[in-house]
């Protein structure tokens, strides 16, 4: 009987230790979650404070009782935020669309077609994956400048319409589609192109969506190339726009309006992420590069 009591006690102690551990775990996880969320909170909060009240606060307040949307209006009227936004959308849509048109056939050729020199071509492709962007940007900058394509969408878009990595990712996916389907299609007299559009693309839709999402994130956040290639504000993307705003928009001190612009720029991707949460996370863990 006594032995059983002891056993209960040990079990209870283990359980309470486990509870304490879990509680500590939740506390730590919450701390990091707050660290992640706080900048977002601060940016939204600052964006709804009025100019006067923000600059009147020597000690910043954690909330505001008189939220205003004036800053959002300022962000769109004082600087051409709407323009930057539209540019980024055009840039993102065209780049992603062109890229898909280029990489799908390439991946198809590597995955399904037989042609002489395929082995060597693929090895060369793979070795290109190791080349960092920083090395090629210099010449591309000179090329685009010499072609007089600075401050044009063509100049912005052209260098980023191929990605060796995405071709590789897609090729791996195409190869998983059973060969029998292809043979059956050939017997039926289906052309390669028809097979690609009618069979392979529909089957690979999840991977294609993943690639599109990753490319959209990349385009939306791209900064270096657009900065090199545009100095005319009419062609700025949001990243360059935000940097421009920081350097000399709003008369430097209008931080609430600046934060309103930051909110406007951040929202589209956050919404996209919340809608496609699973796909984005799965895609990034397979093909993400940032970090």
């Amino acid at each position: 009987m006594e032995k059983k009591m002891d056993f209960d006690k040990i079990e209870r102690r283990a359980a309470s230790r486990k509870r304490a551990f879990t509680a500590a775990d939740y506390v730590l996880l919450t701390v990091w979650a707050l660290m992640v969320l706080f900048p977002f909170y601060w940016m939204v909060l600052t964006s709804v404070k009025s100019y006067g009240s923000y600059n009147g606060e020597y000690i910043p307040r954690f909330f505001t009782l008189a939220p205003t949307l004036q800053n959002y209006q300022d962000a769109f009227t004082t600087v051409s935020l709407g323009r930057y936004f539209l540019n980024t959308i055009i840039y993102t849509v065209v780049t992603t669309g062109l890229m898909m048109a280029v990489i799908i056939p390439a991946a198809f050729a590597f995955a399904r077609l037989d042609f002489p020199g395929k082995g060597i071509a693929f090895t060369l492709f793979l070795s290109l994956m190791m080349i960092p962007n920083e090395l090629v940007v210099i010449t591309n900058f000179v090329t685009i400048t010499n072609l007089k394509l600075r401050n044009t969408f063509t100049g912005l878009i052209l260098p980023s319409v191929t990605s060796v990595f995405y071709i590789y990712l897609l090729k791996e996916n195409f190869e998983q589609i059973p060969d029998e389907l292809y043979k059956a299609a050939r017997v039926d007299g289906t052309s390669d192109f028809k097979y690609l559009t009618r069979v392979m693309i529909p089957i690979s839709k999840p991977t294609l969506v993943t690639i599109v999402i990753l490319k959209v994130i990349e385009c939306w956040n791209s900064y270096v190339w657009p900065r090199l290639i545009t100095d005319n504000p009419n062609y700025y993307l949001v990243s360059n726009g935000i940097q421009e705003i920081r350097e000399n928009g709003f008369g430097r001190e209008n931080i609430p309006a600046m934060m309103a612009a930051v909110v406007v720029i951040s929202v589209p991707l956050i919404v996209l992420f919340l809608i496609f949460r699973k796909k984005v996370m799965a895609g990034v863990s397979r093909g993400g590069t940032k970090g």
Binding site: L29, P132, V136, T139, G291
Partner: protein, 296 residues
């Protein structure tokens, strides 16, 4: 047969054209640029061929400053972010309720514009005439001295840069490590529990070896990513990084190419190739270490 062979190349053609024009040709060209001395981008002429560009870059005060900043950033952020991410992933792995919510929140920095959120960090840390800024306020609560993190002493600027870099790279690391932890076969844990193994021992003997390939993957990509740091610094300190003393190697390359100090593609090429050599060396060392100590 001949018709089909043509076809394969036809499908590859667009990709090859773009890669040829914007990757293969630039790669050769950057090498040539880096050896051409006294290249003039207006007249496209040069005096001679040699290593002058490299020696000029290596003796440039700004380049050495950039190298120092980049190395400090790498040495501080890579181990720290990997360790914190490991801790958070272990914490996430141990809970069931709210796990999805936490994962979603932790991922947010990945999908935000680095430059935009960098501005928020700047106003949090910056000290102006109107306000000391929130972070300084907190330091004062705990009885500390306020510091200007954006225009102040070097260590303070370095701290913000590291802090922001870690904040930015964390989502990717947490994501990779949580999926690695989730894929460890639960039977190992059951077996260990049966034997009454202590939890630290389980971690050390089962979890860590099982996820070690992924940890090394993160260390390697982390090194590569941190060596290429640039937009984080731009976001915090503005476009004139040399004046702020916070330039990075990639920043130096772009400054040489374009902007007020630009117009020198030869120096930019030499600096970019030096960066490439550094990254390649470090990656090879990493791979050698990982071959020895990673369990497969």
């Amino acid at each position: 047969m001949k018709k089909r062979s043509m076809k394969g190349w036809l499908y590859l053609l667009p990709a090859m054209l773009f890669l040829g024009a914007f990757m293969v040709y630039p790669l050769i060209d950057v090498l040539i640029y880096s050896f051409e001395e006294g290249y003039n981008s207006a007249s496209q002429t040069y005096f001679g061929v040699g290593l002058y560009n490299y020696s000029r870059v290596l003796h440039d005060h700004y380049f050495l400053q950039a190298v120092q900043n980049t190395f400090l950033l790498v040495i501080i952020t890579v181990p720290l972010s990997t360790l914190i991410a490991l801790g958070i992933s272990l914490g996430l792995n141990a809970i069931k309720p709210l796990r999805n919510l936490f994962q979603t929140v932790y991922f947010l920095p990945y999908v935000t514009n680095t430059l935009a959120v960098g501005l928020v960090f700047m106003i949090l840390f910056k000290k102006t005439a109107y306000t000391d800024g929130l972070i300084n306020l907190m330091i004062q609560w705990f009885g500390g001295q306020s510091v200007d993190f954006i225009d102040g002493p070097y260590w303070a600027k370095m701290f913000v840069l590291c802090f922001y870099t870690i904040w930015v790279v964390m989502p990717f690391k947490i994501l990779i490590l949580t999926s690695a932890l989730a894929s460890v076969n639960p039977e190992y844990y059951s077996a260990a529990k049966m034997d009454g193994t202590k939890s630290f021992r389980i971690f050390y003997k089962i979890t860590l070896p099982m996820i070690s390939p992924m940890i090394f993957y993160l260390v390697i990509t982390g090194f590569i990513g941190a060596f290429k740091a640039y937009s984080d610094a731009i976001a915090l300190f503005g476009t004139d990084l040399n004046a702020a003393g916070m330039n990075t190697i990639v920043g130096y390359v772009y400054d040489m190419l374009y902007g007020s100090s630009g117009g020198y593609p030869s120096y930019a090429s030499a600096a970019a190739l030096i960066l490439f050599a550094i990254v390649l060396t470090i990656t090879c060392i990493n791979l050698m270490i990982s071959k020895k100590s990673v369990h497969y």
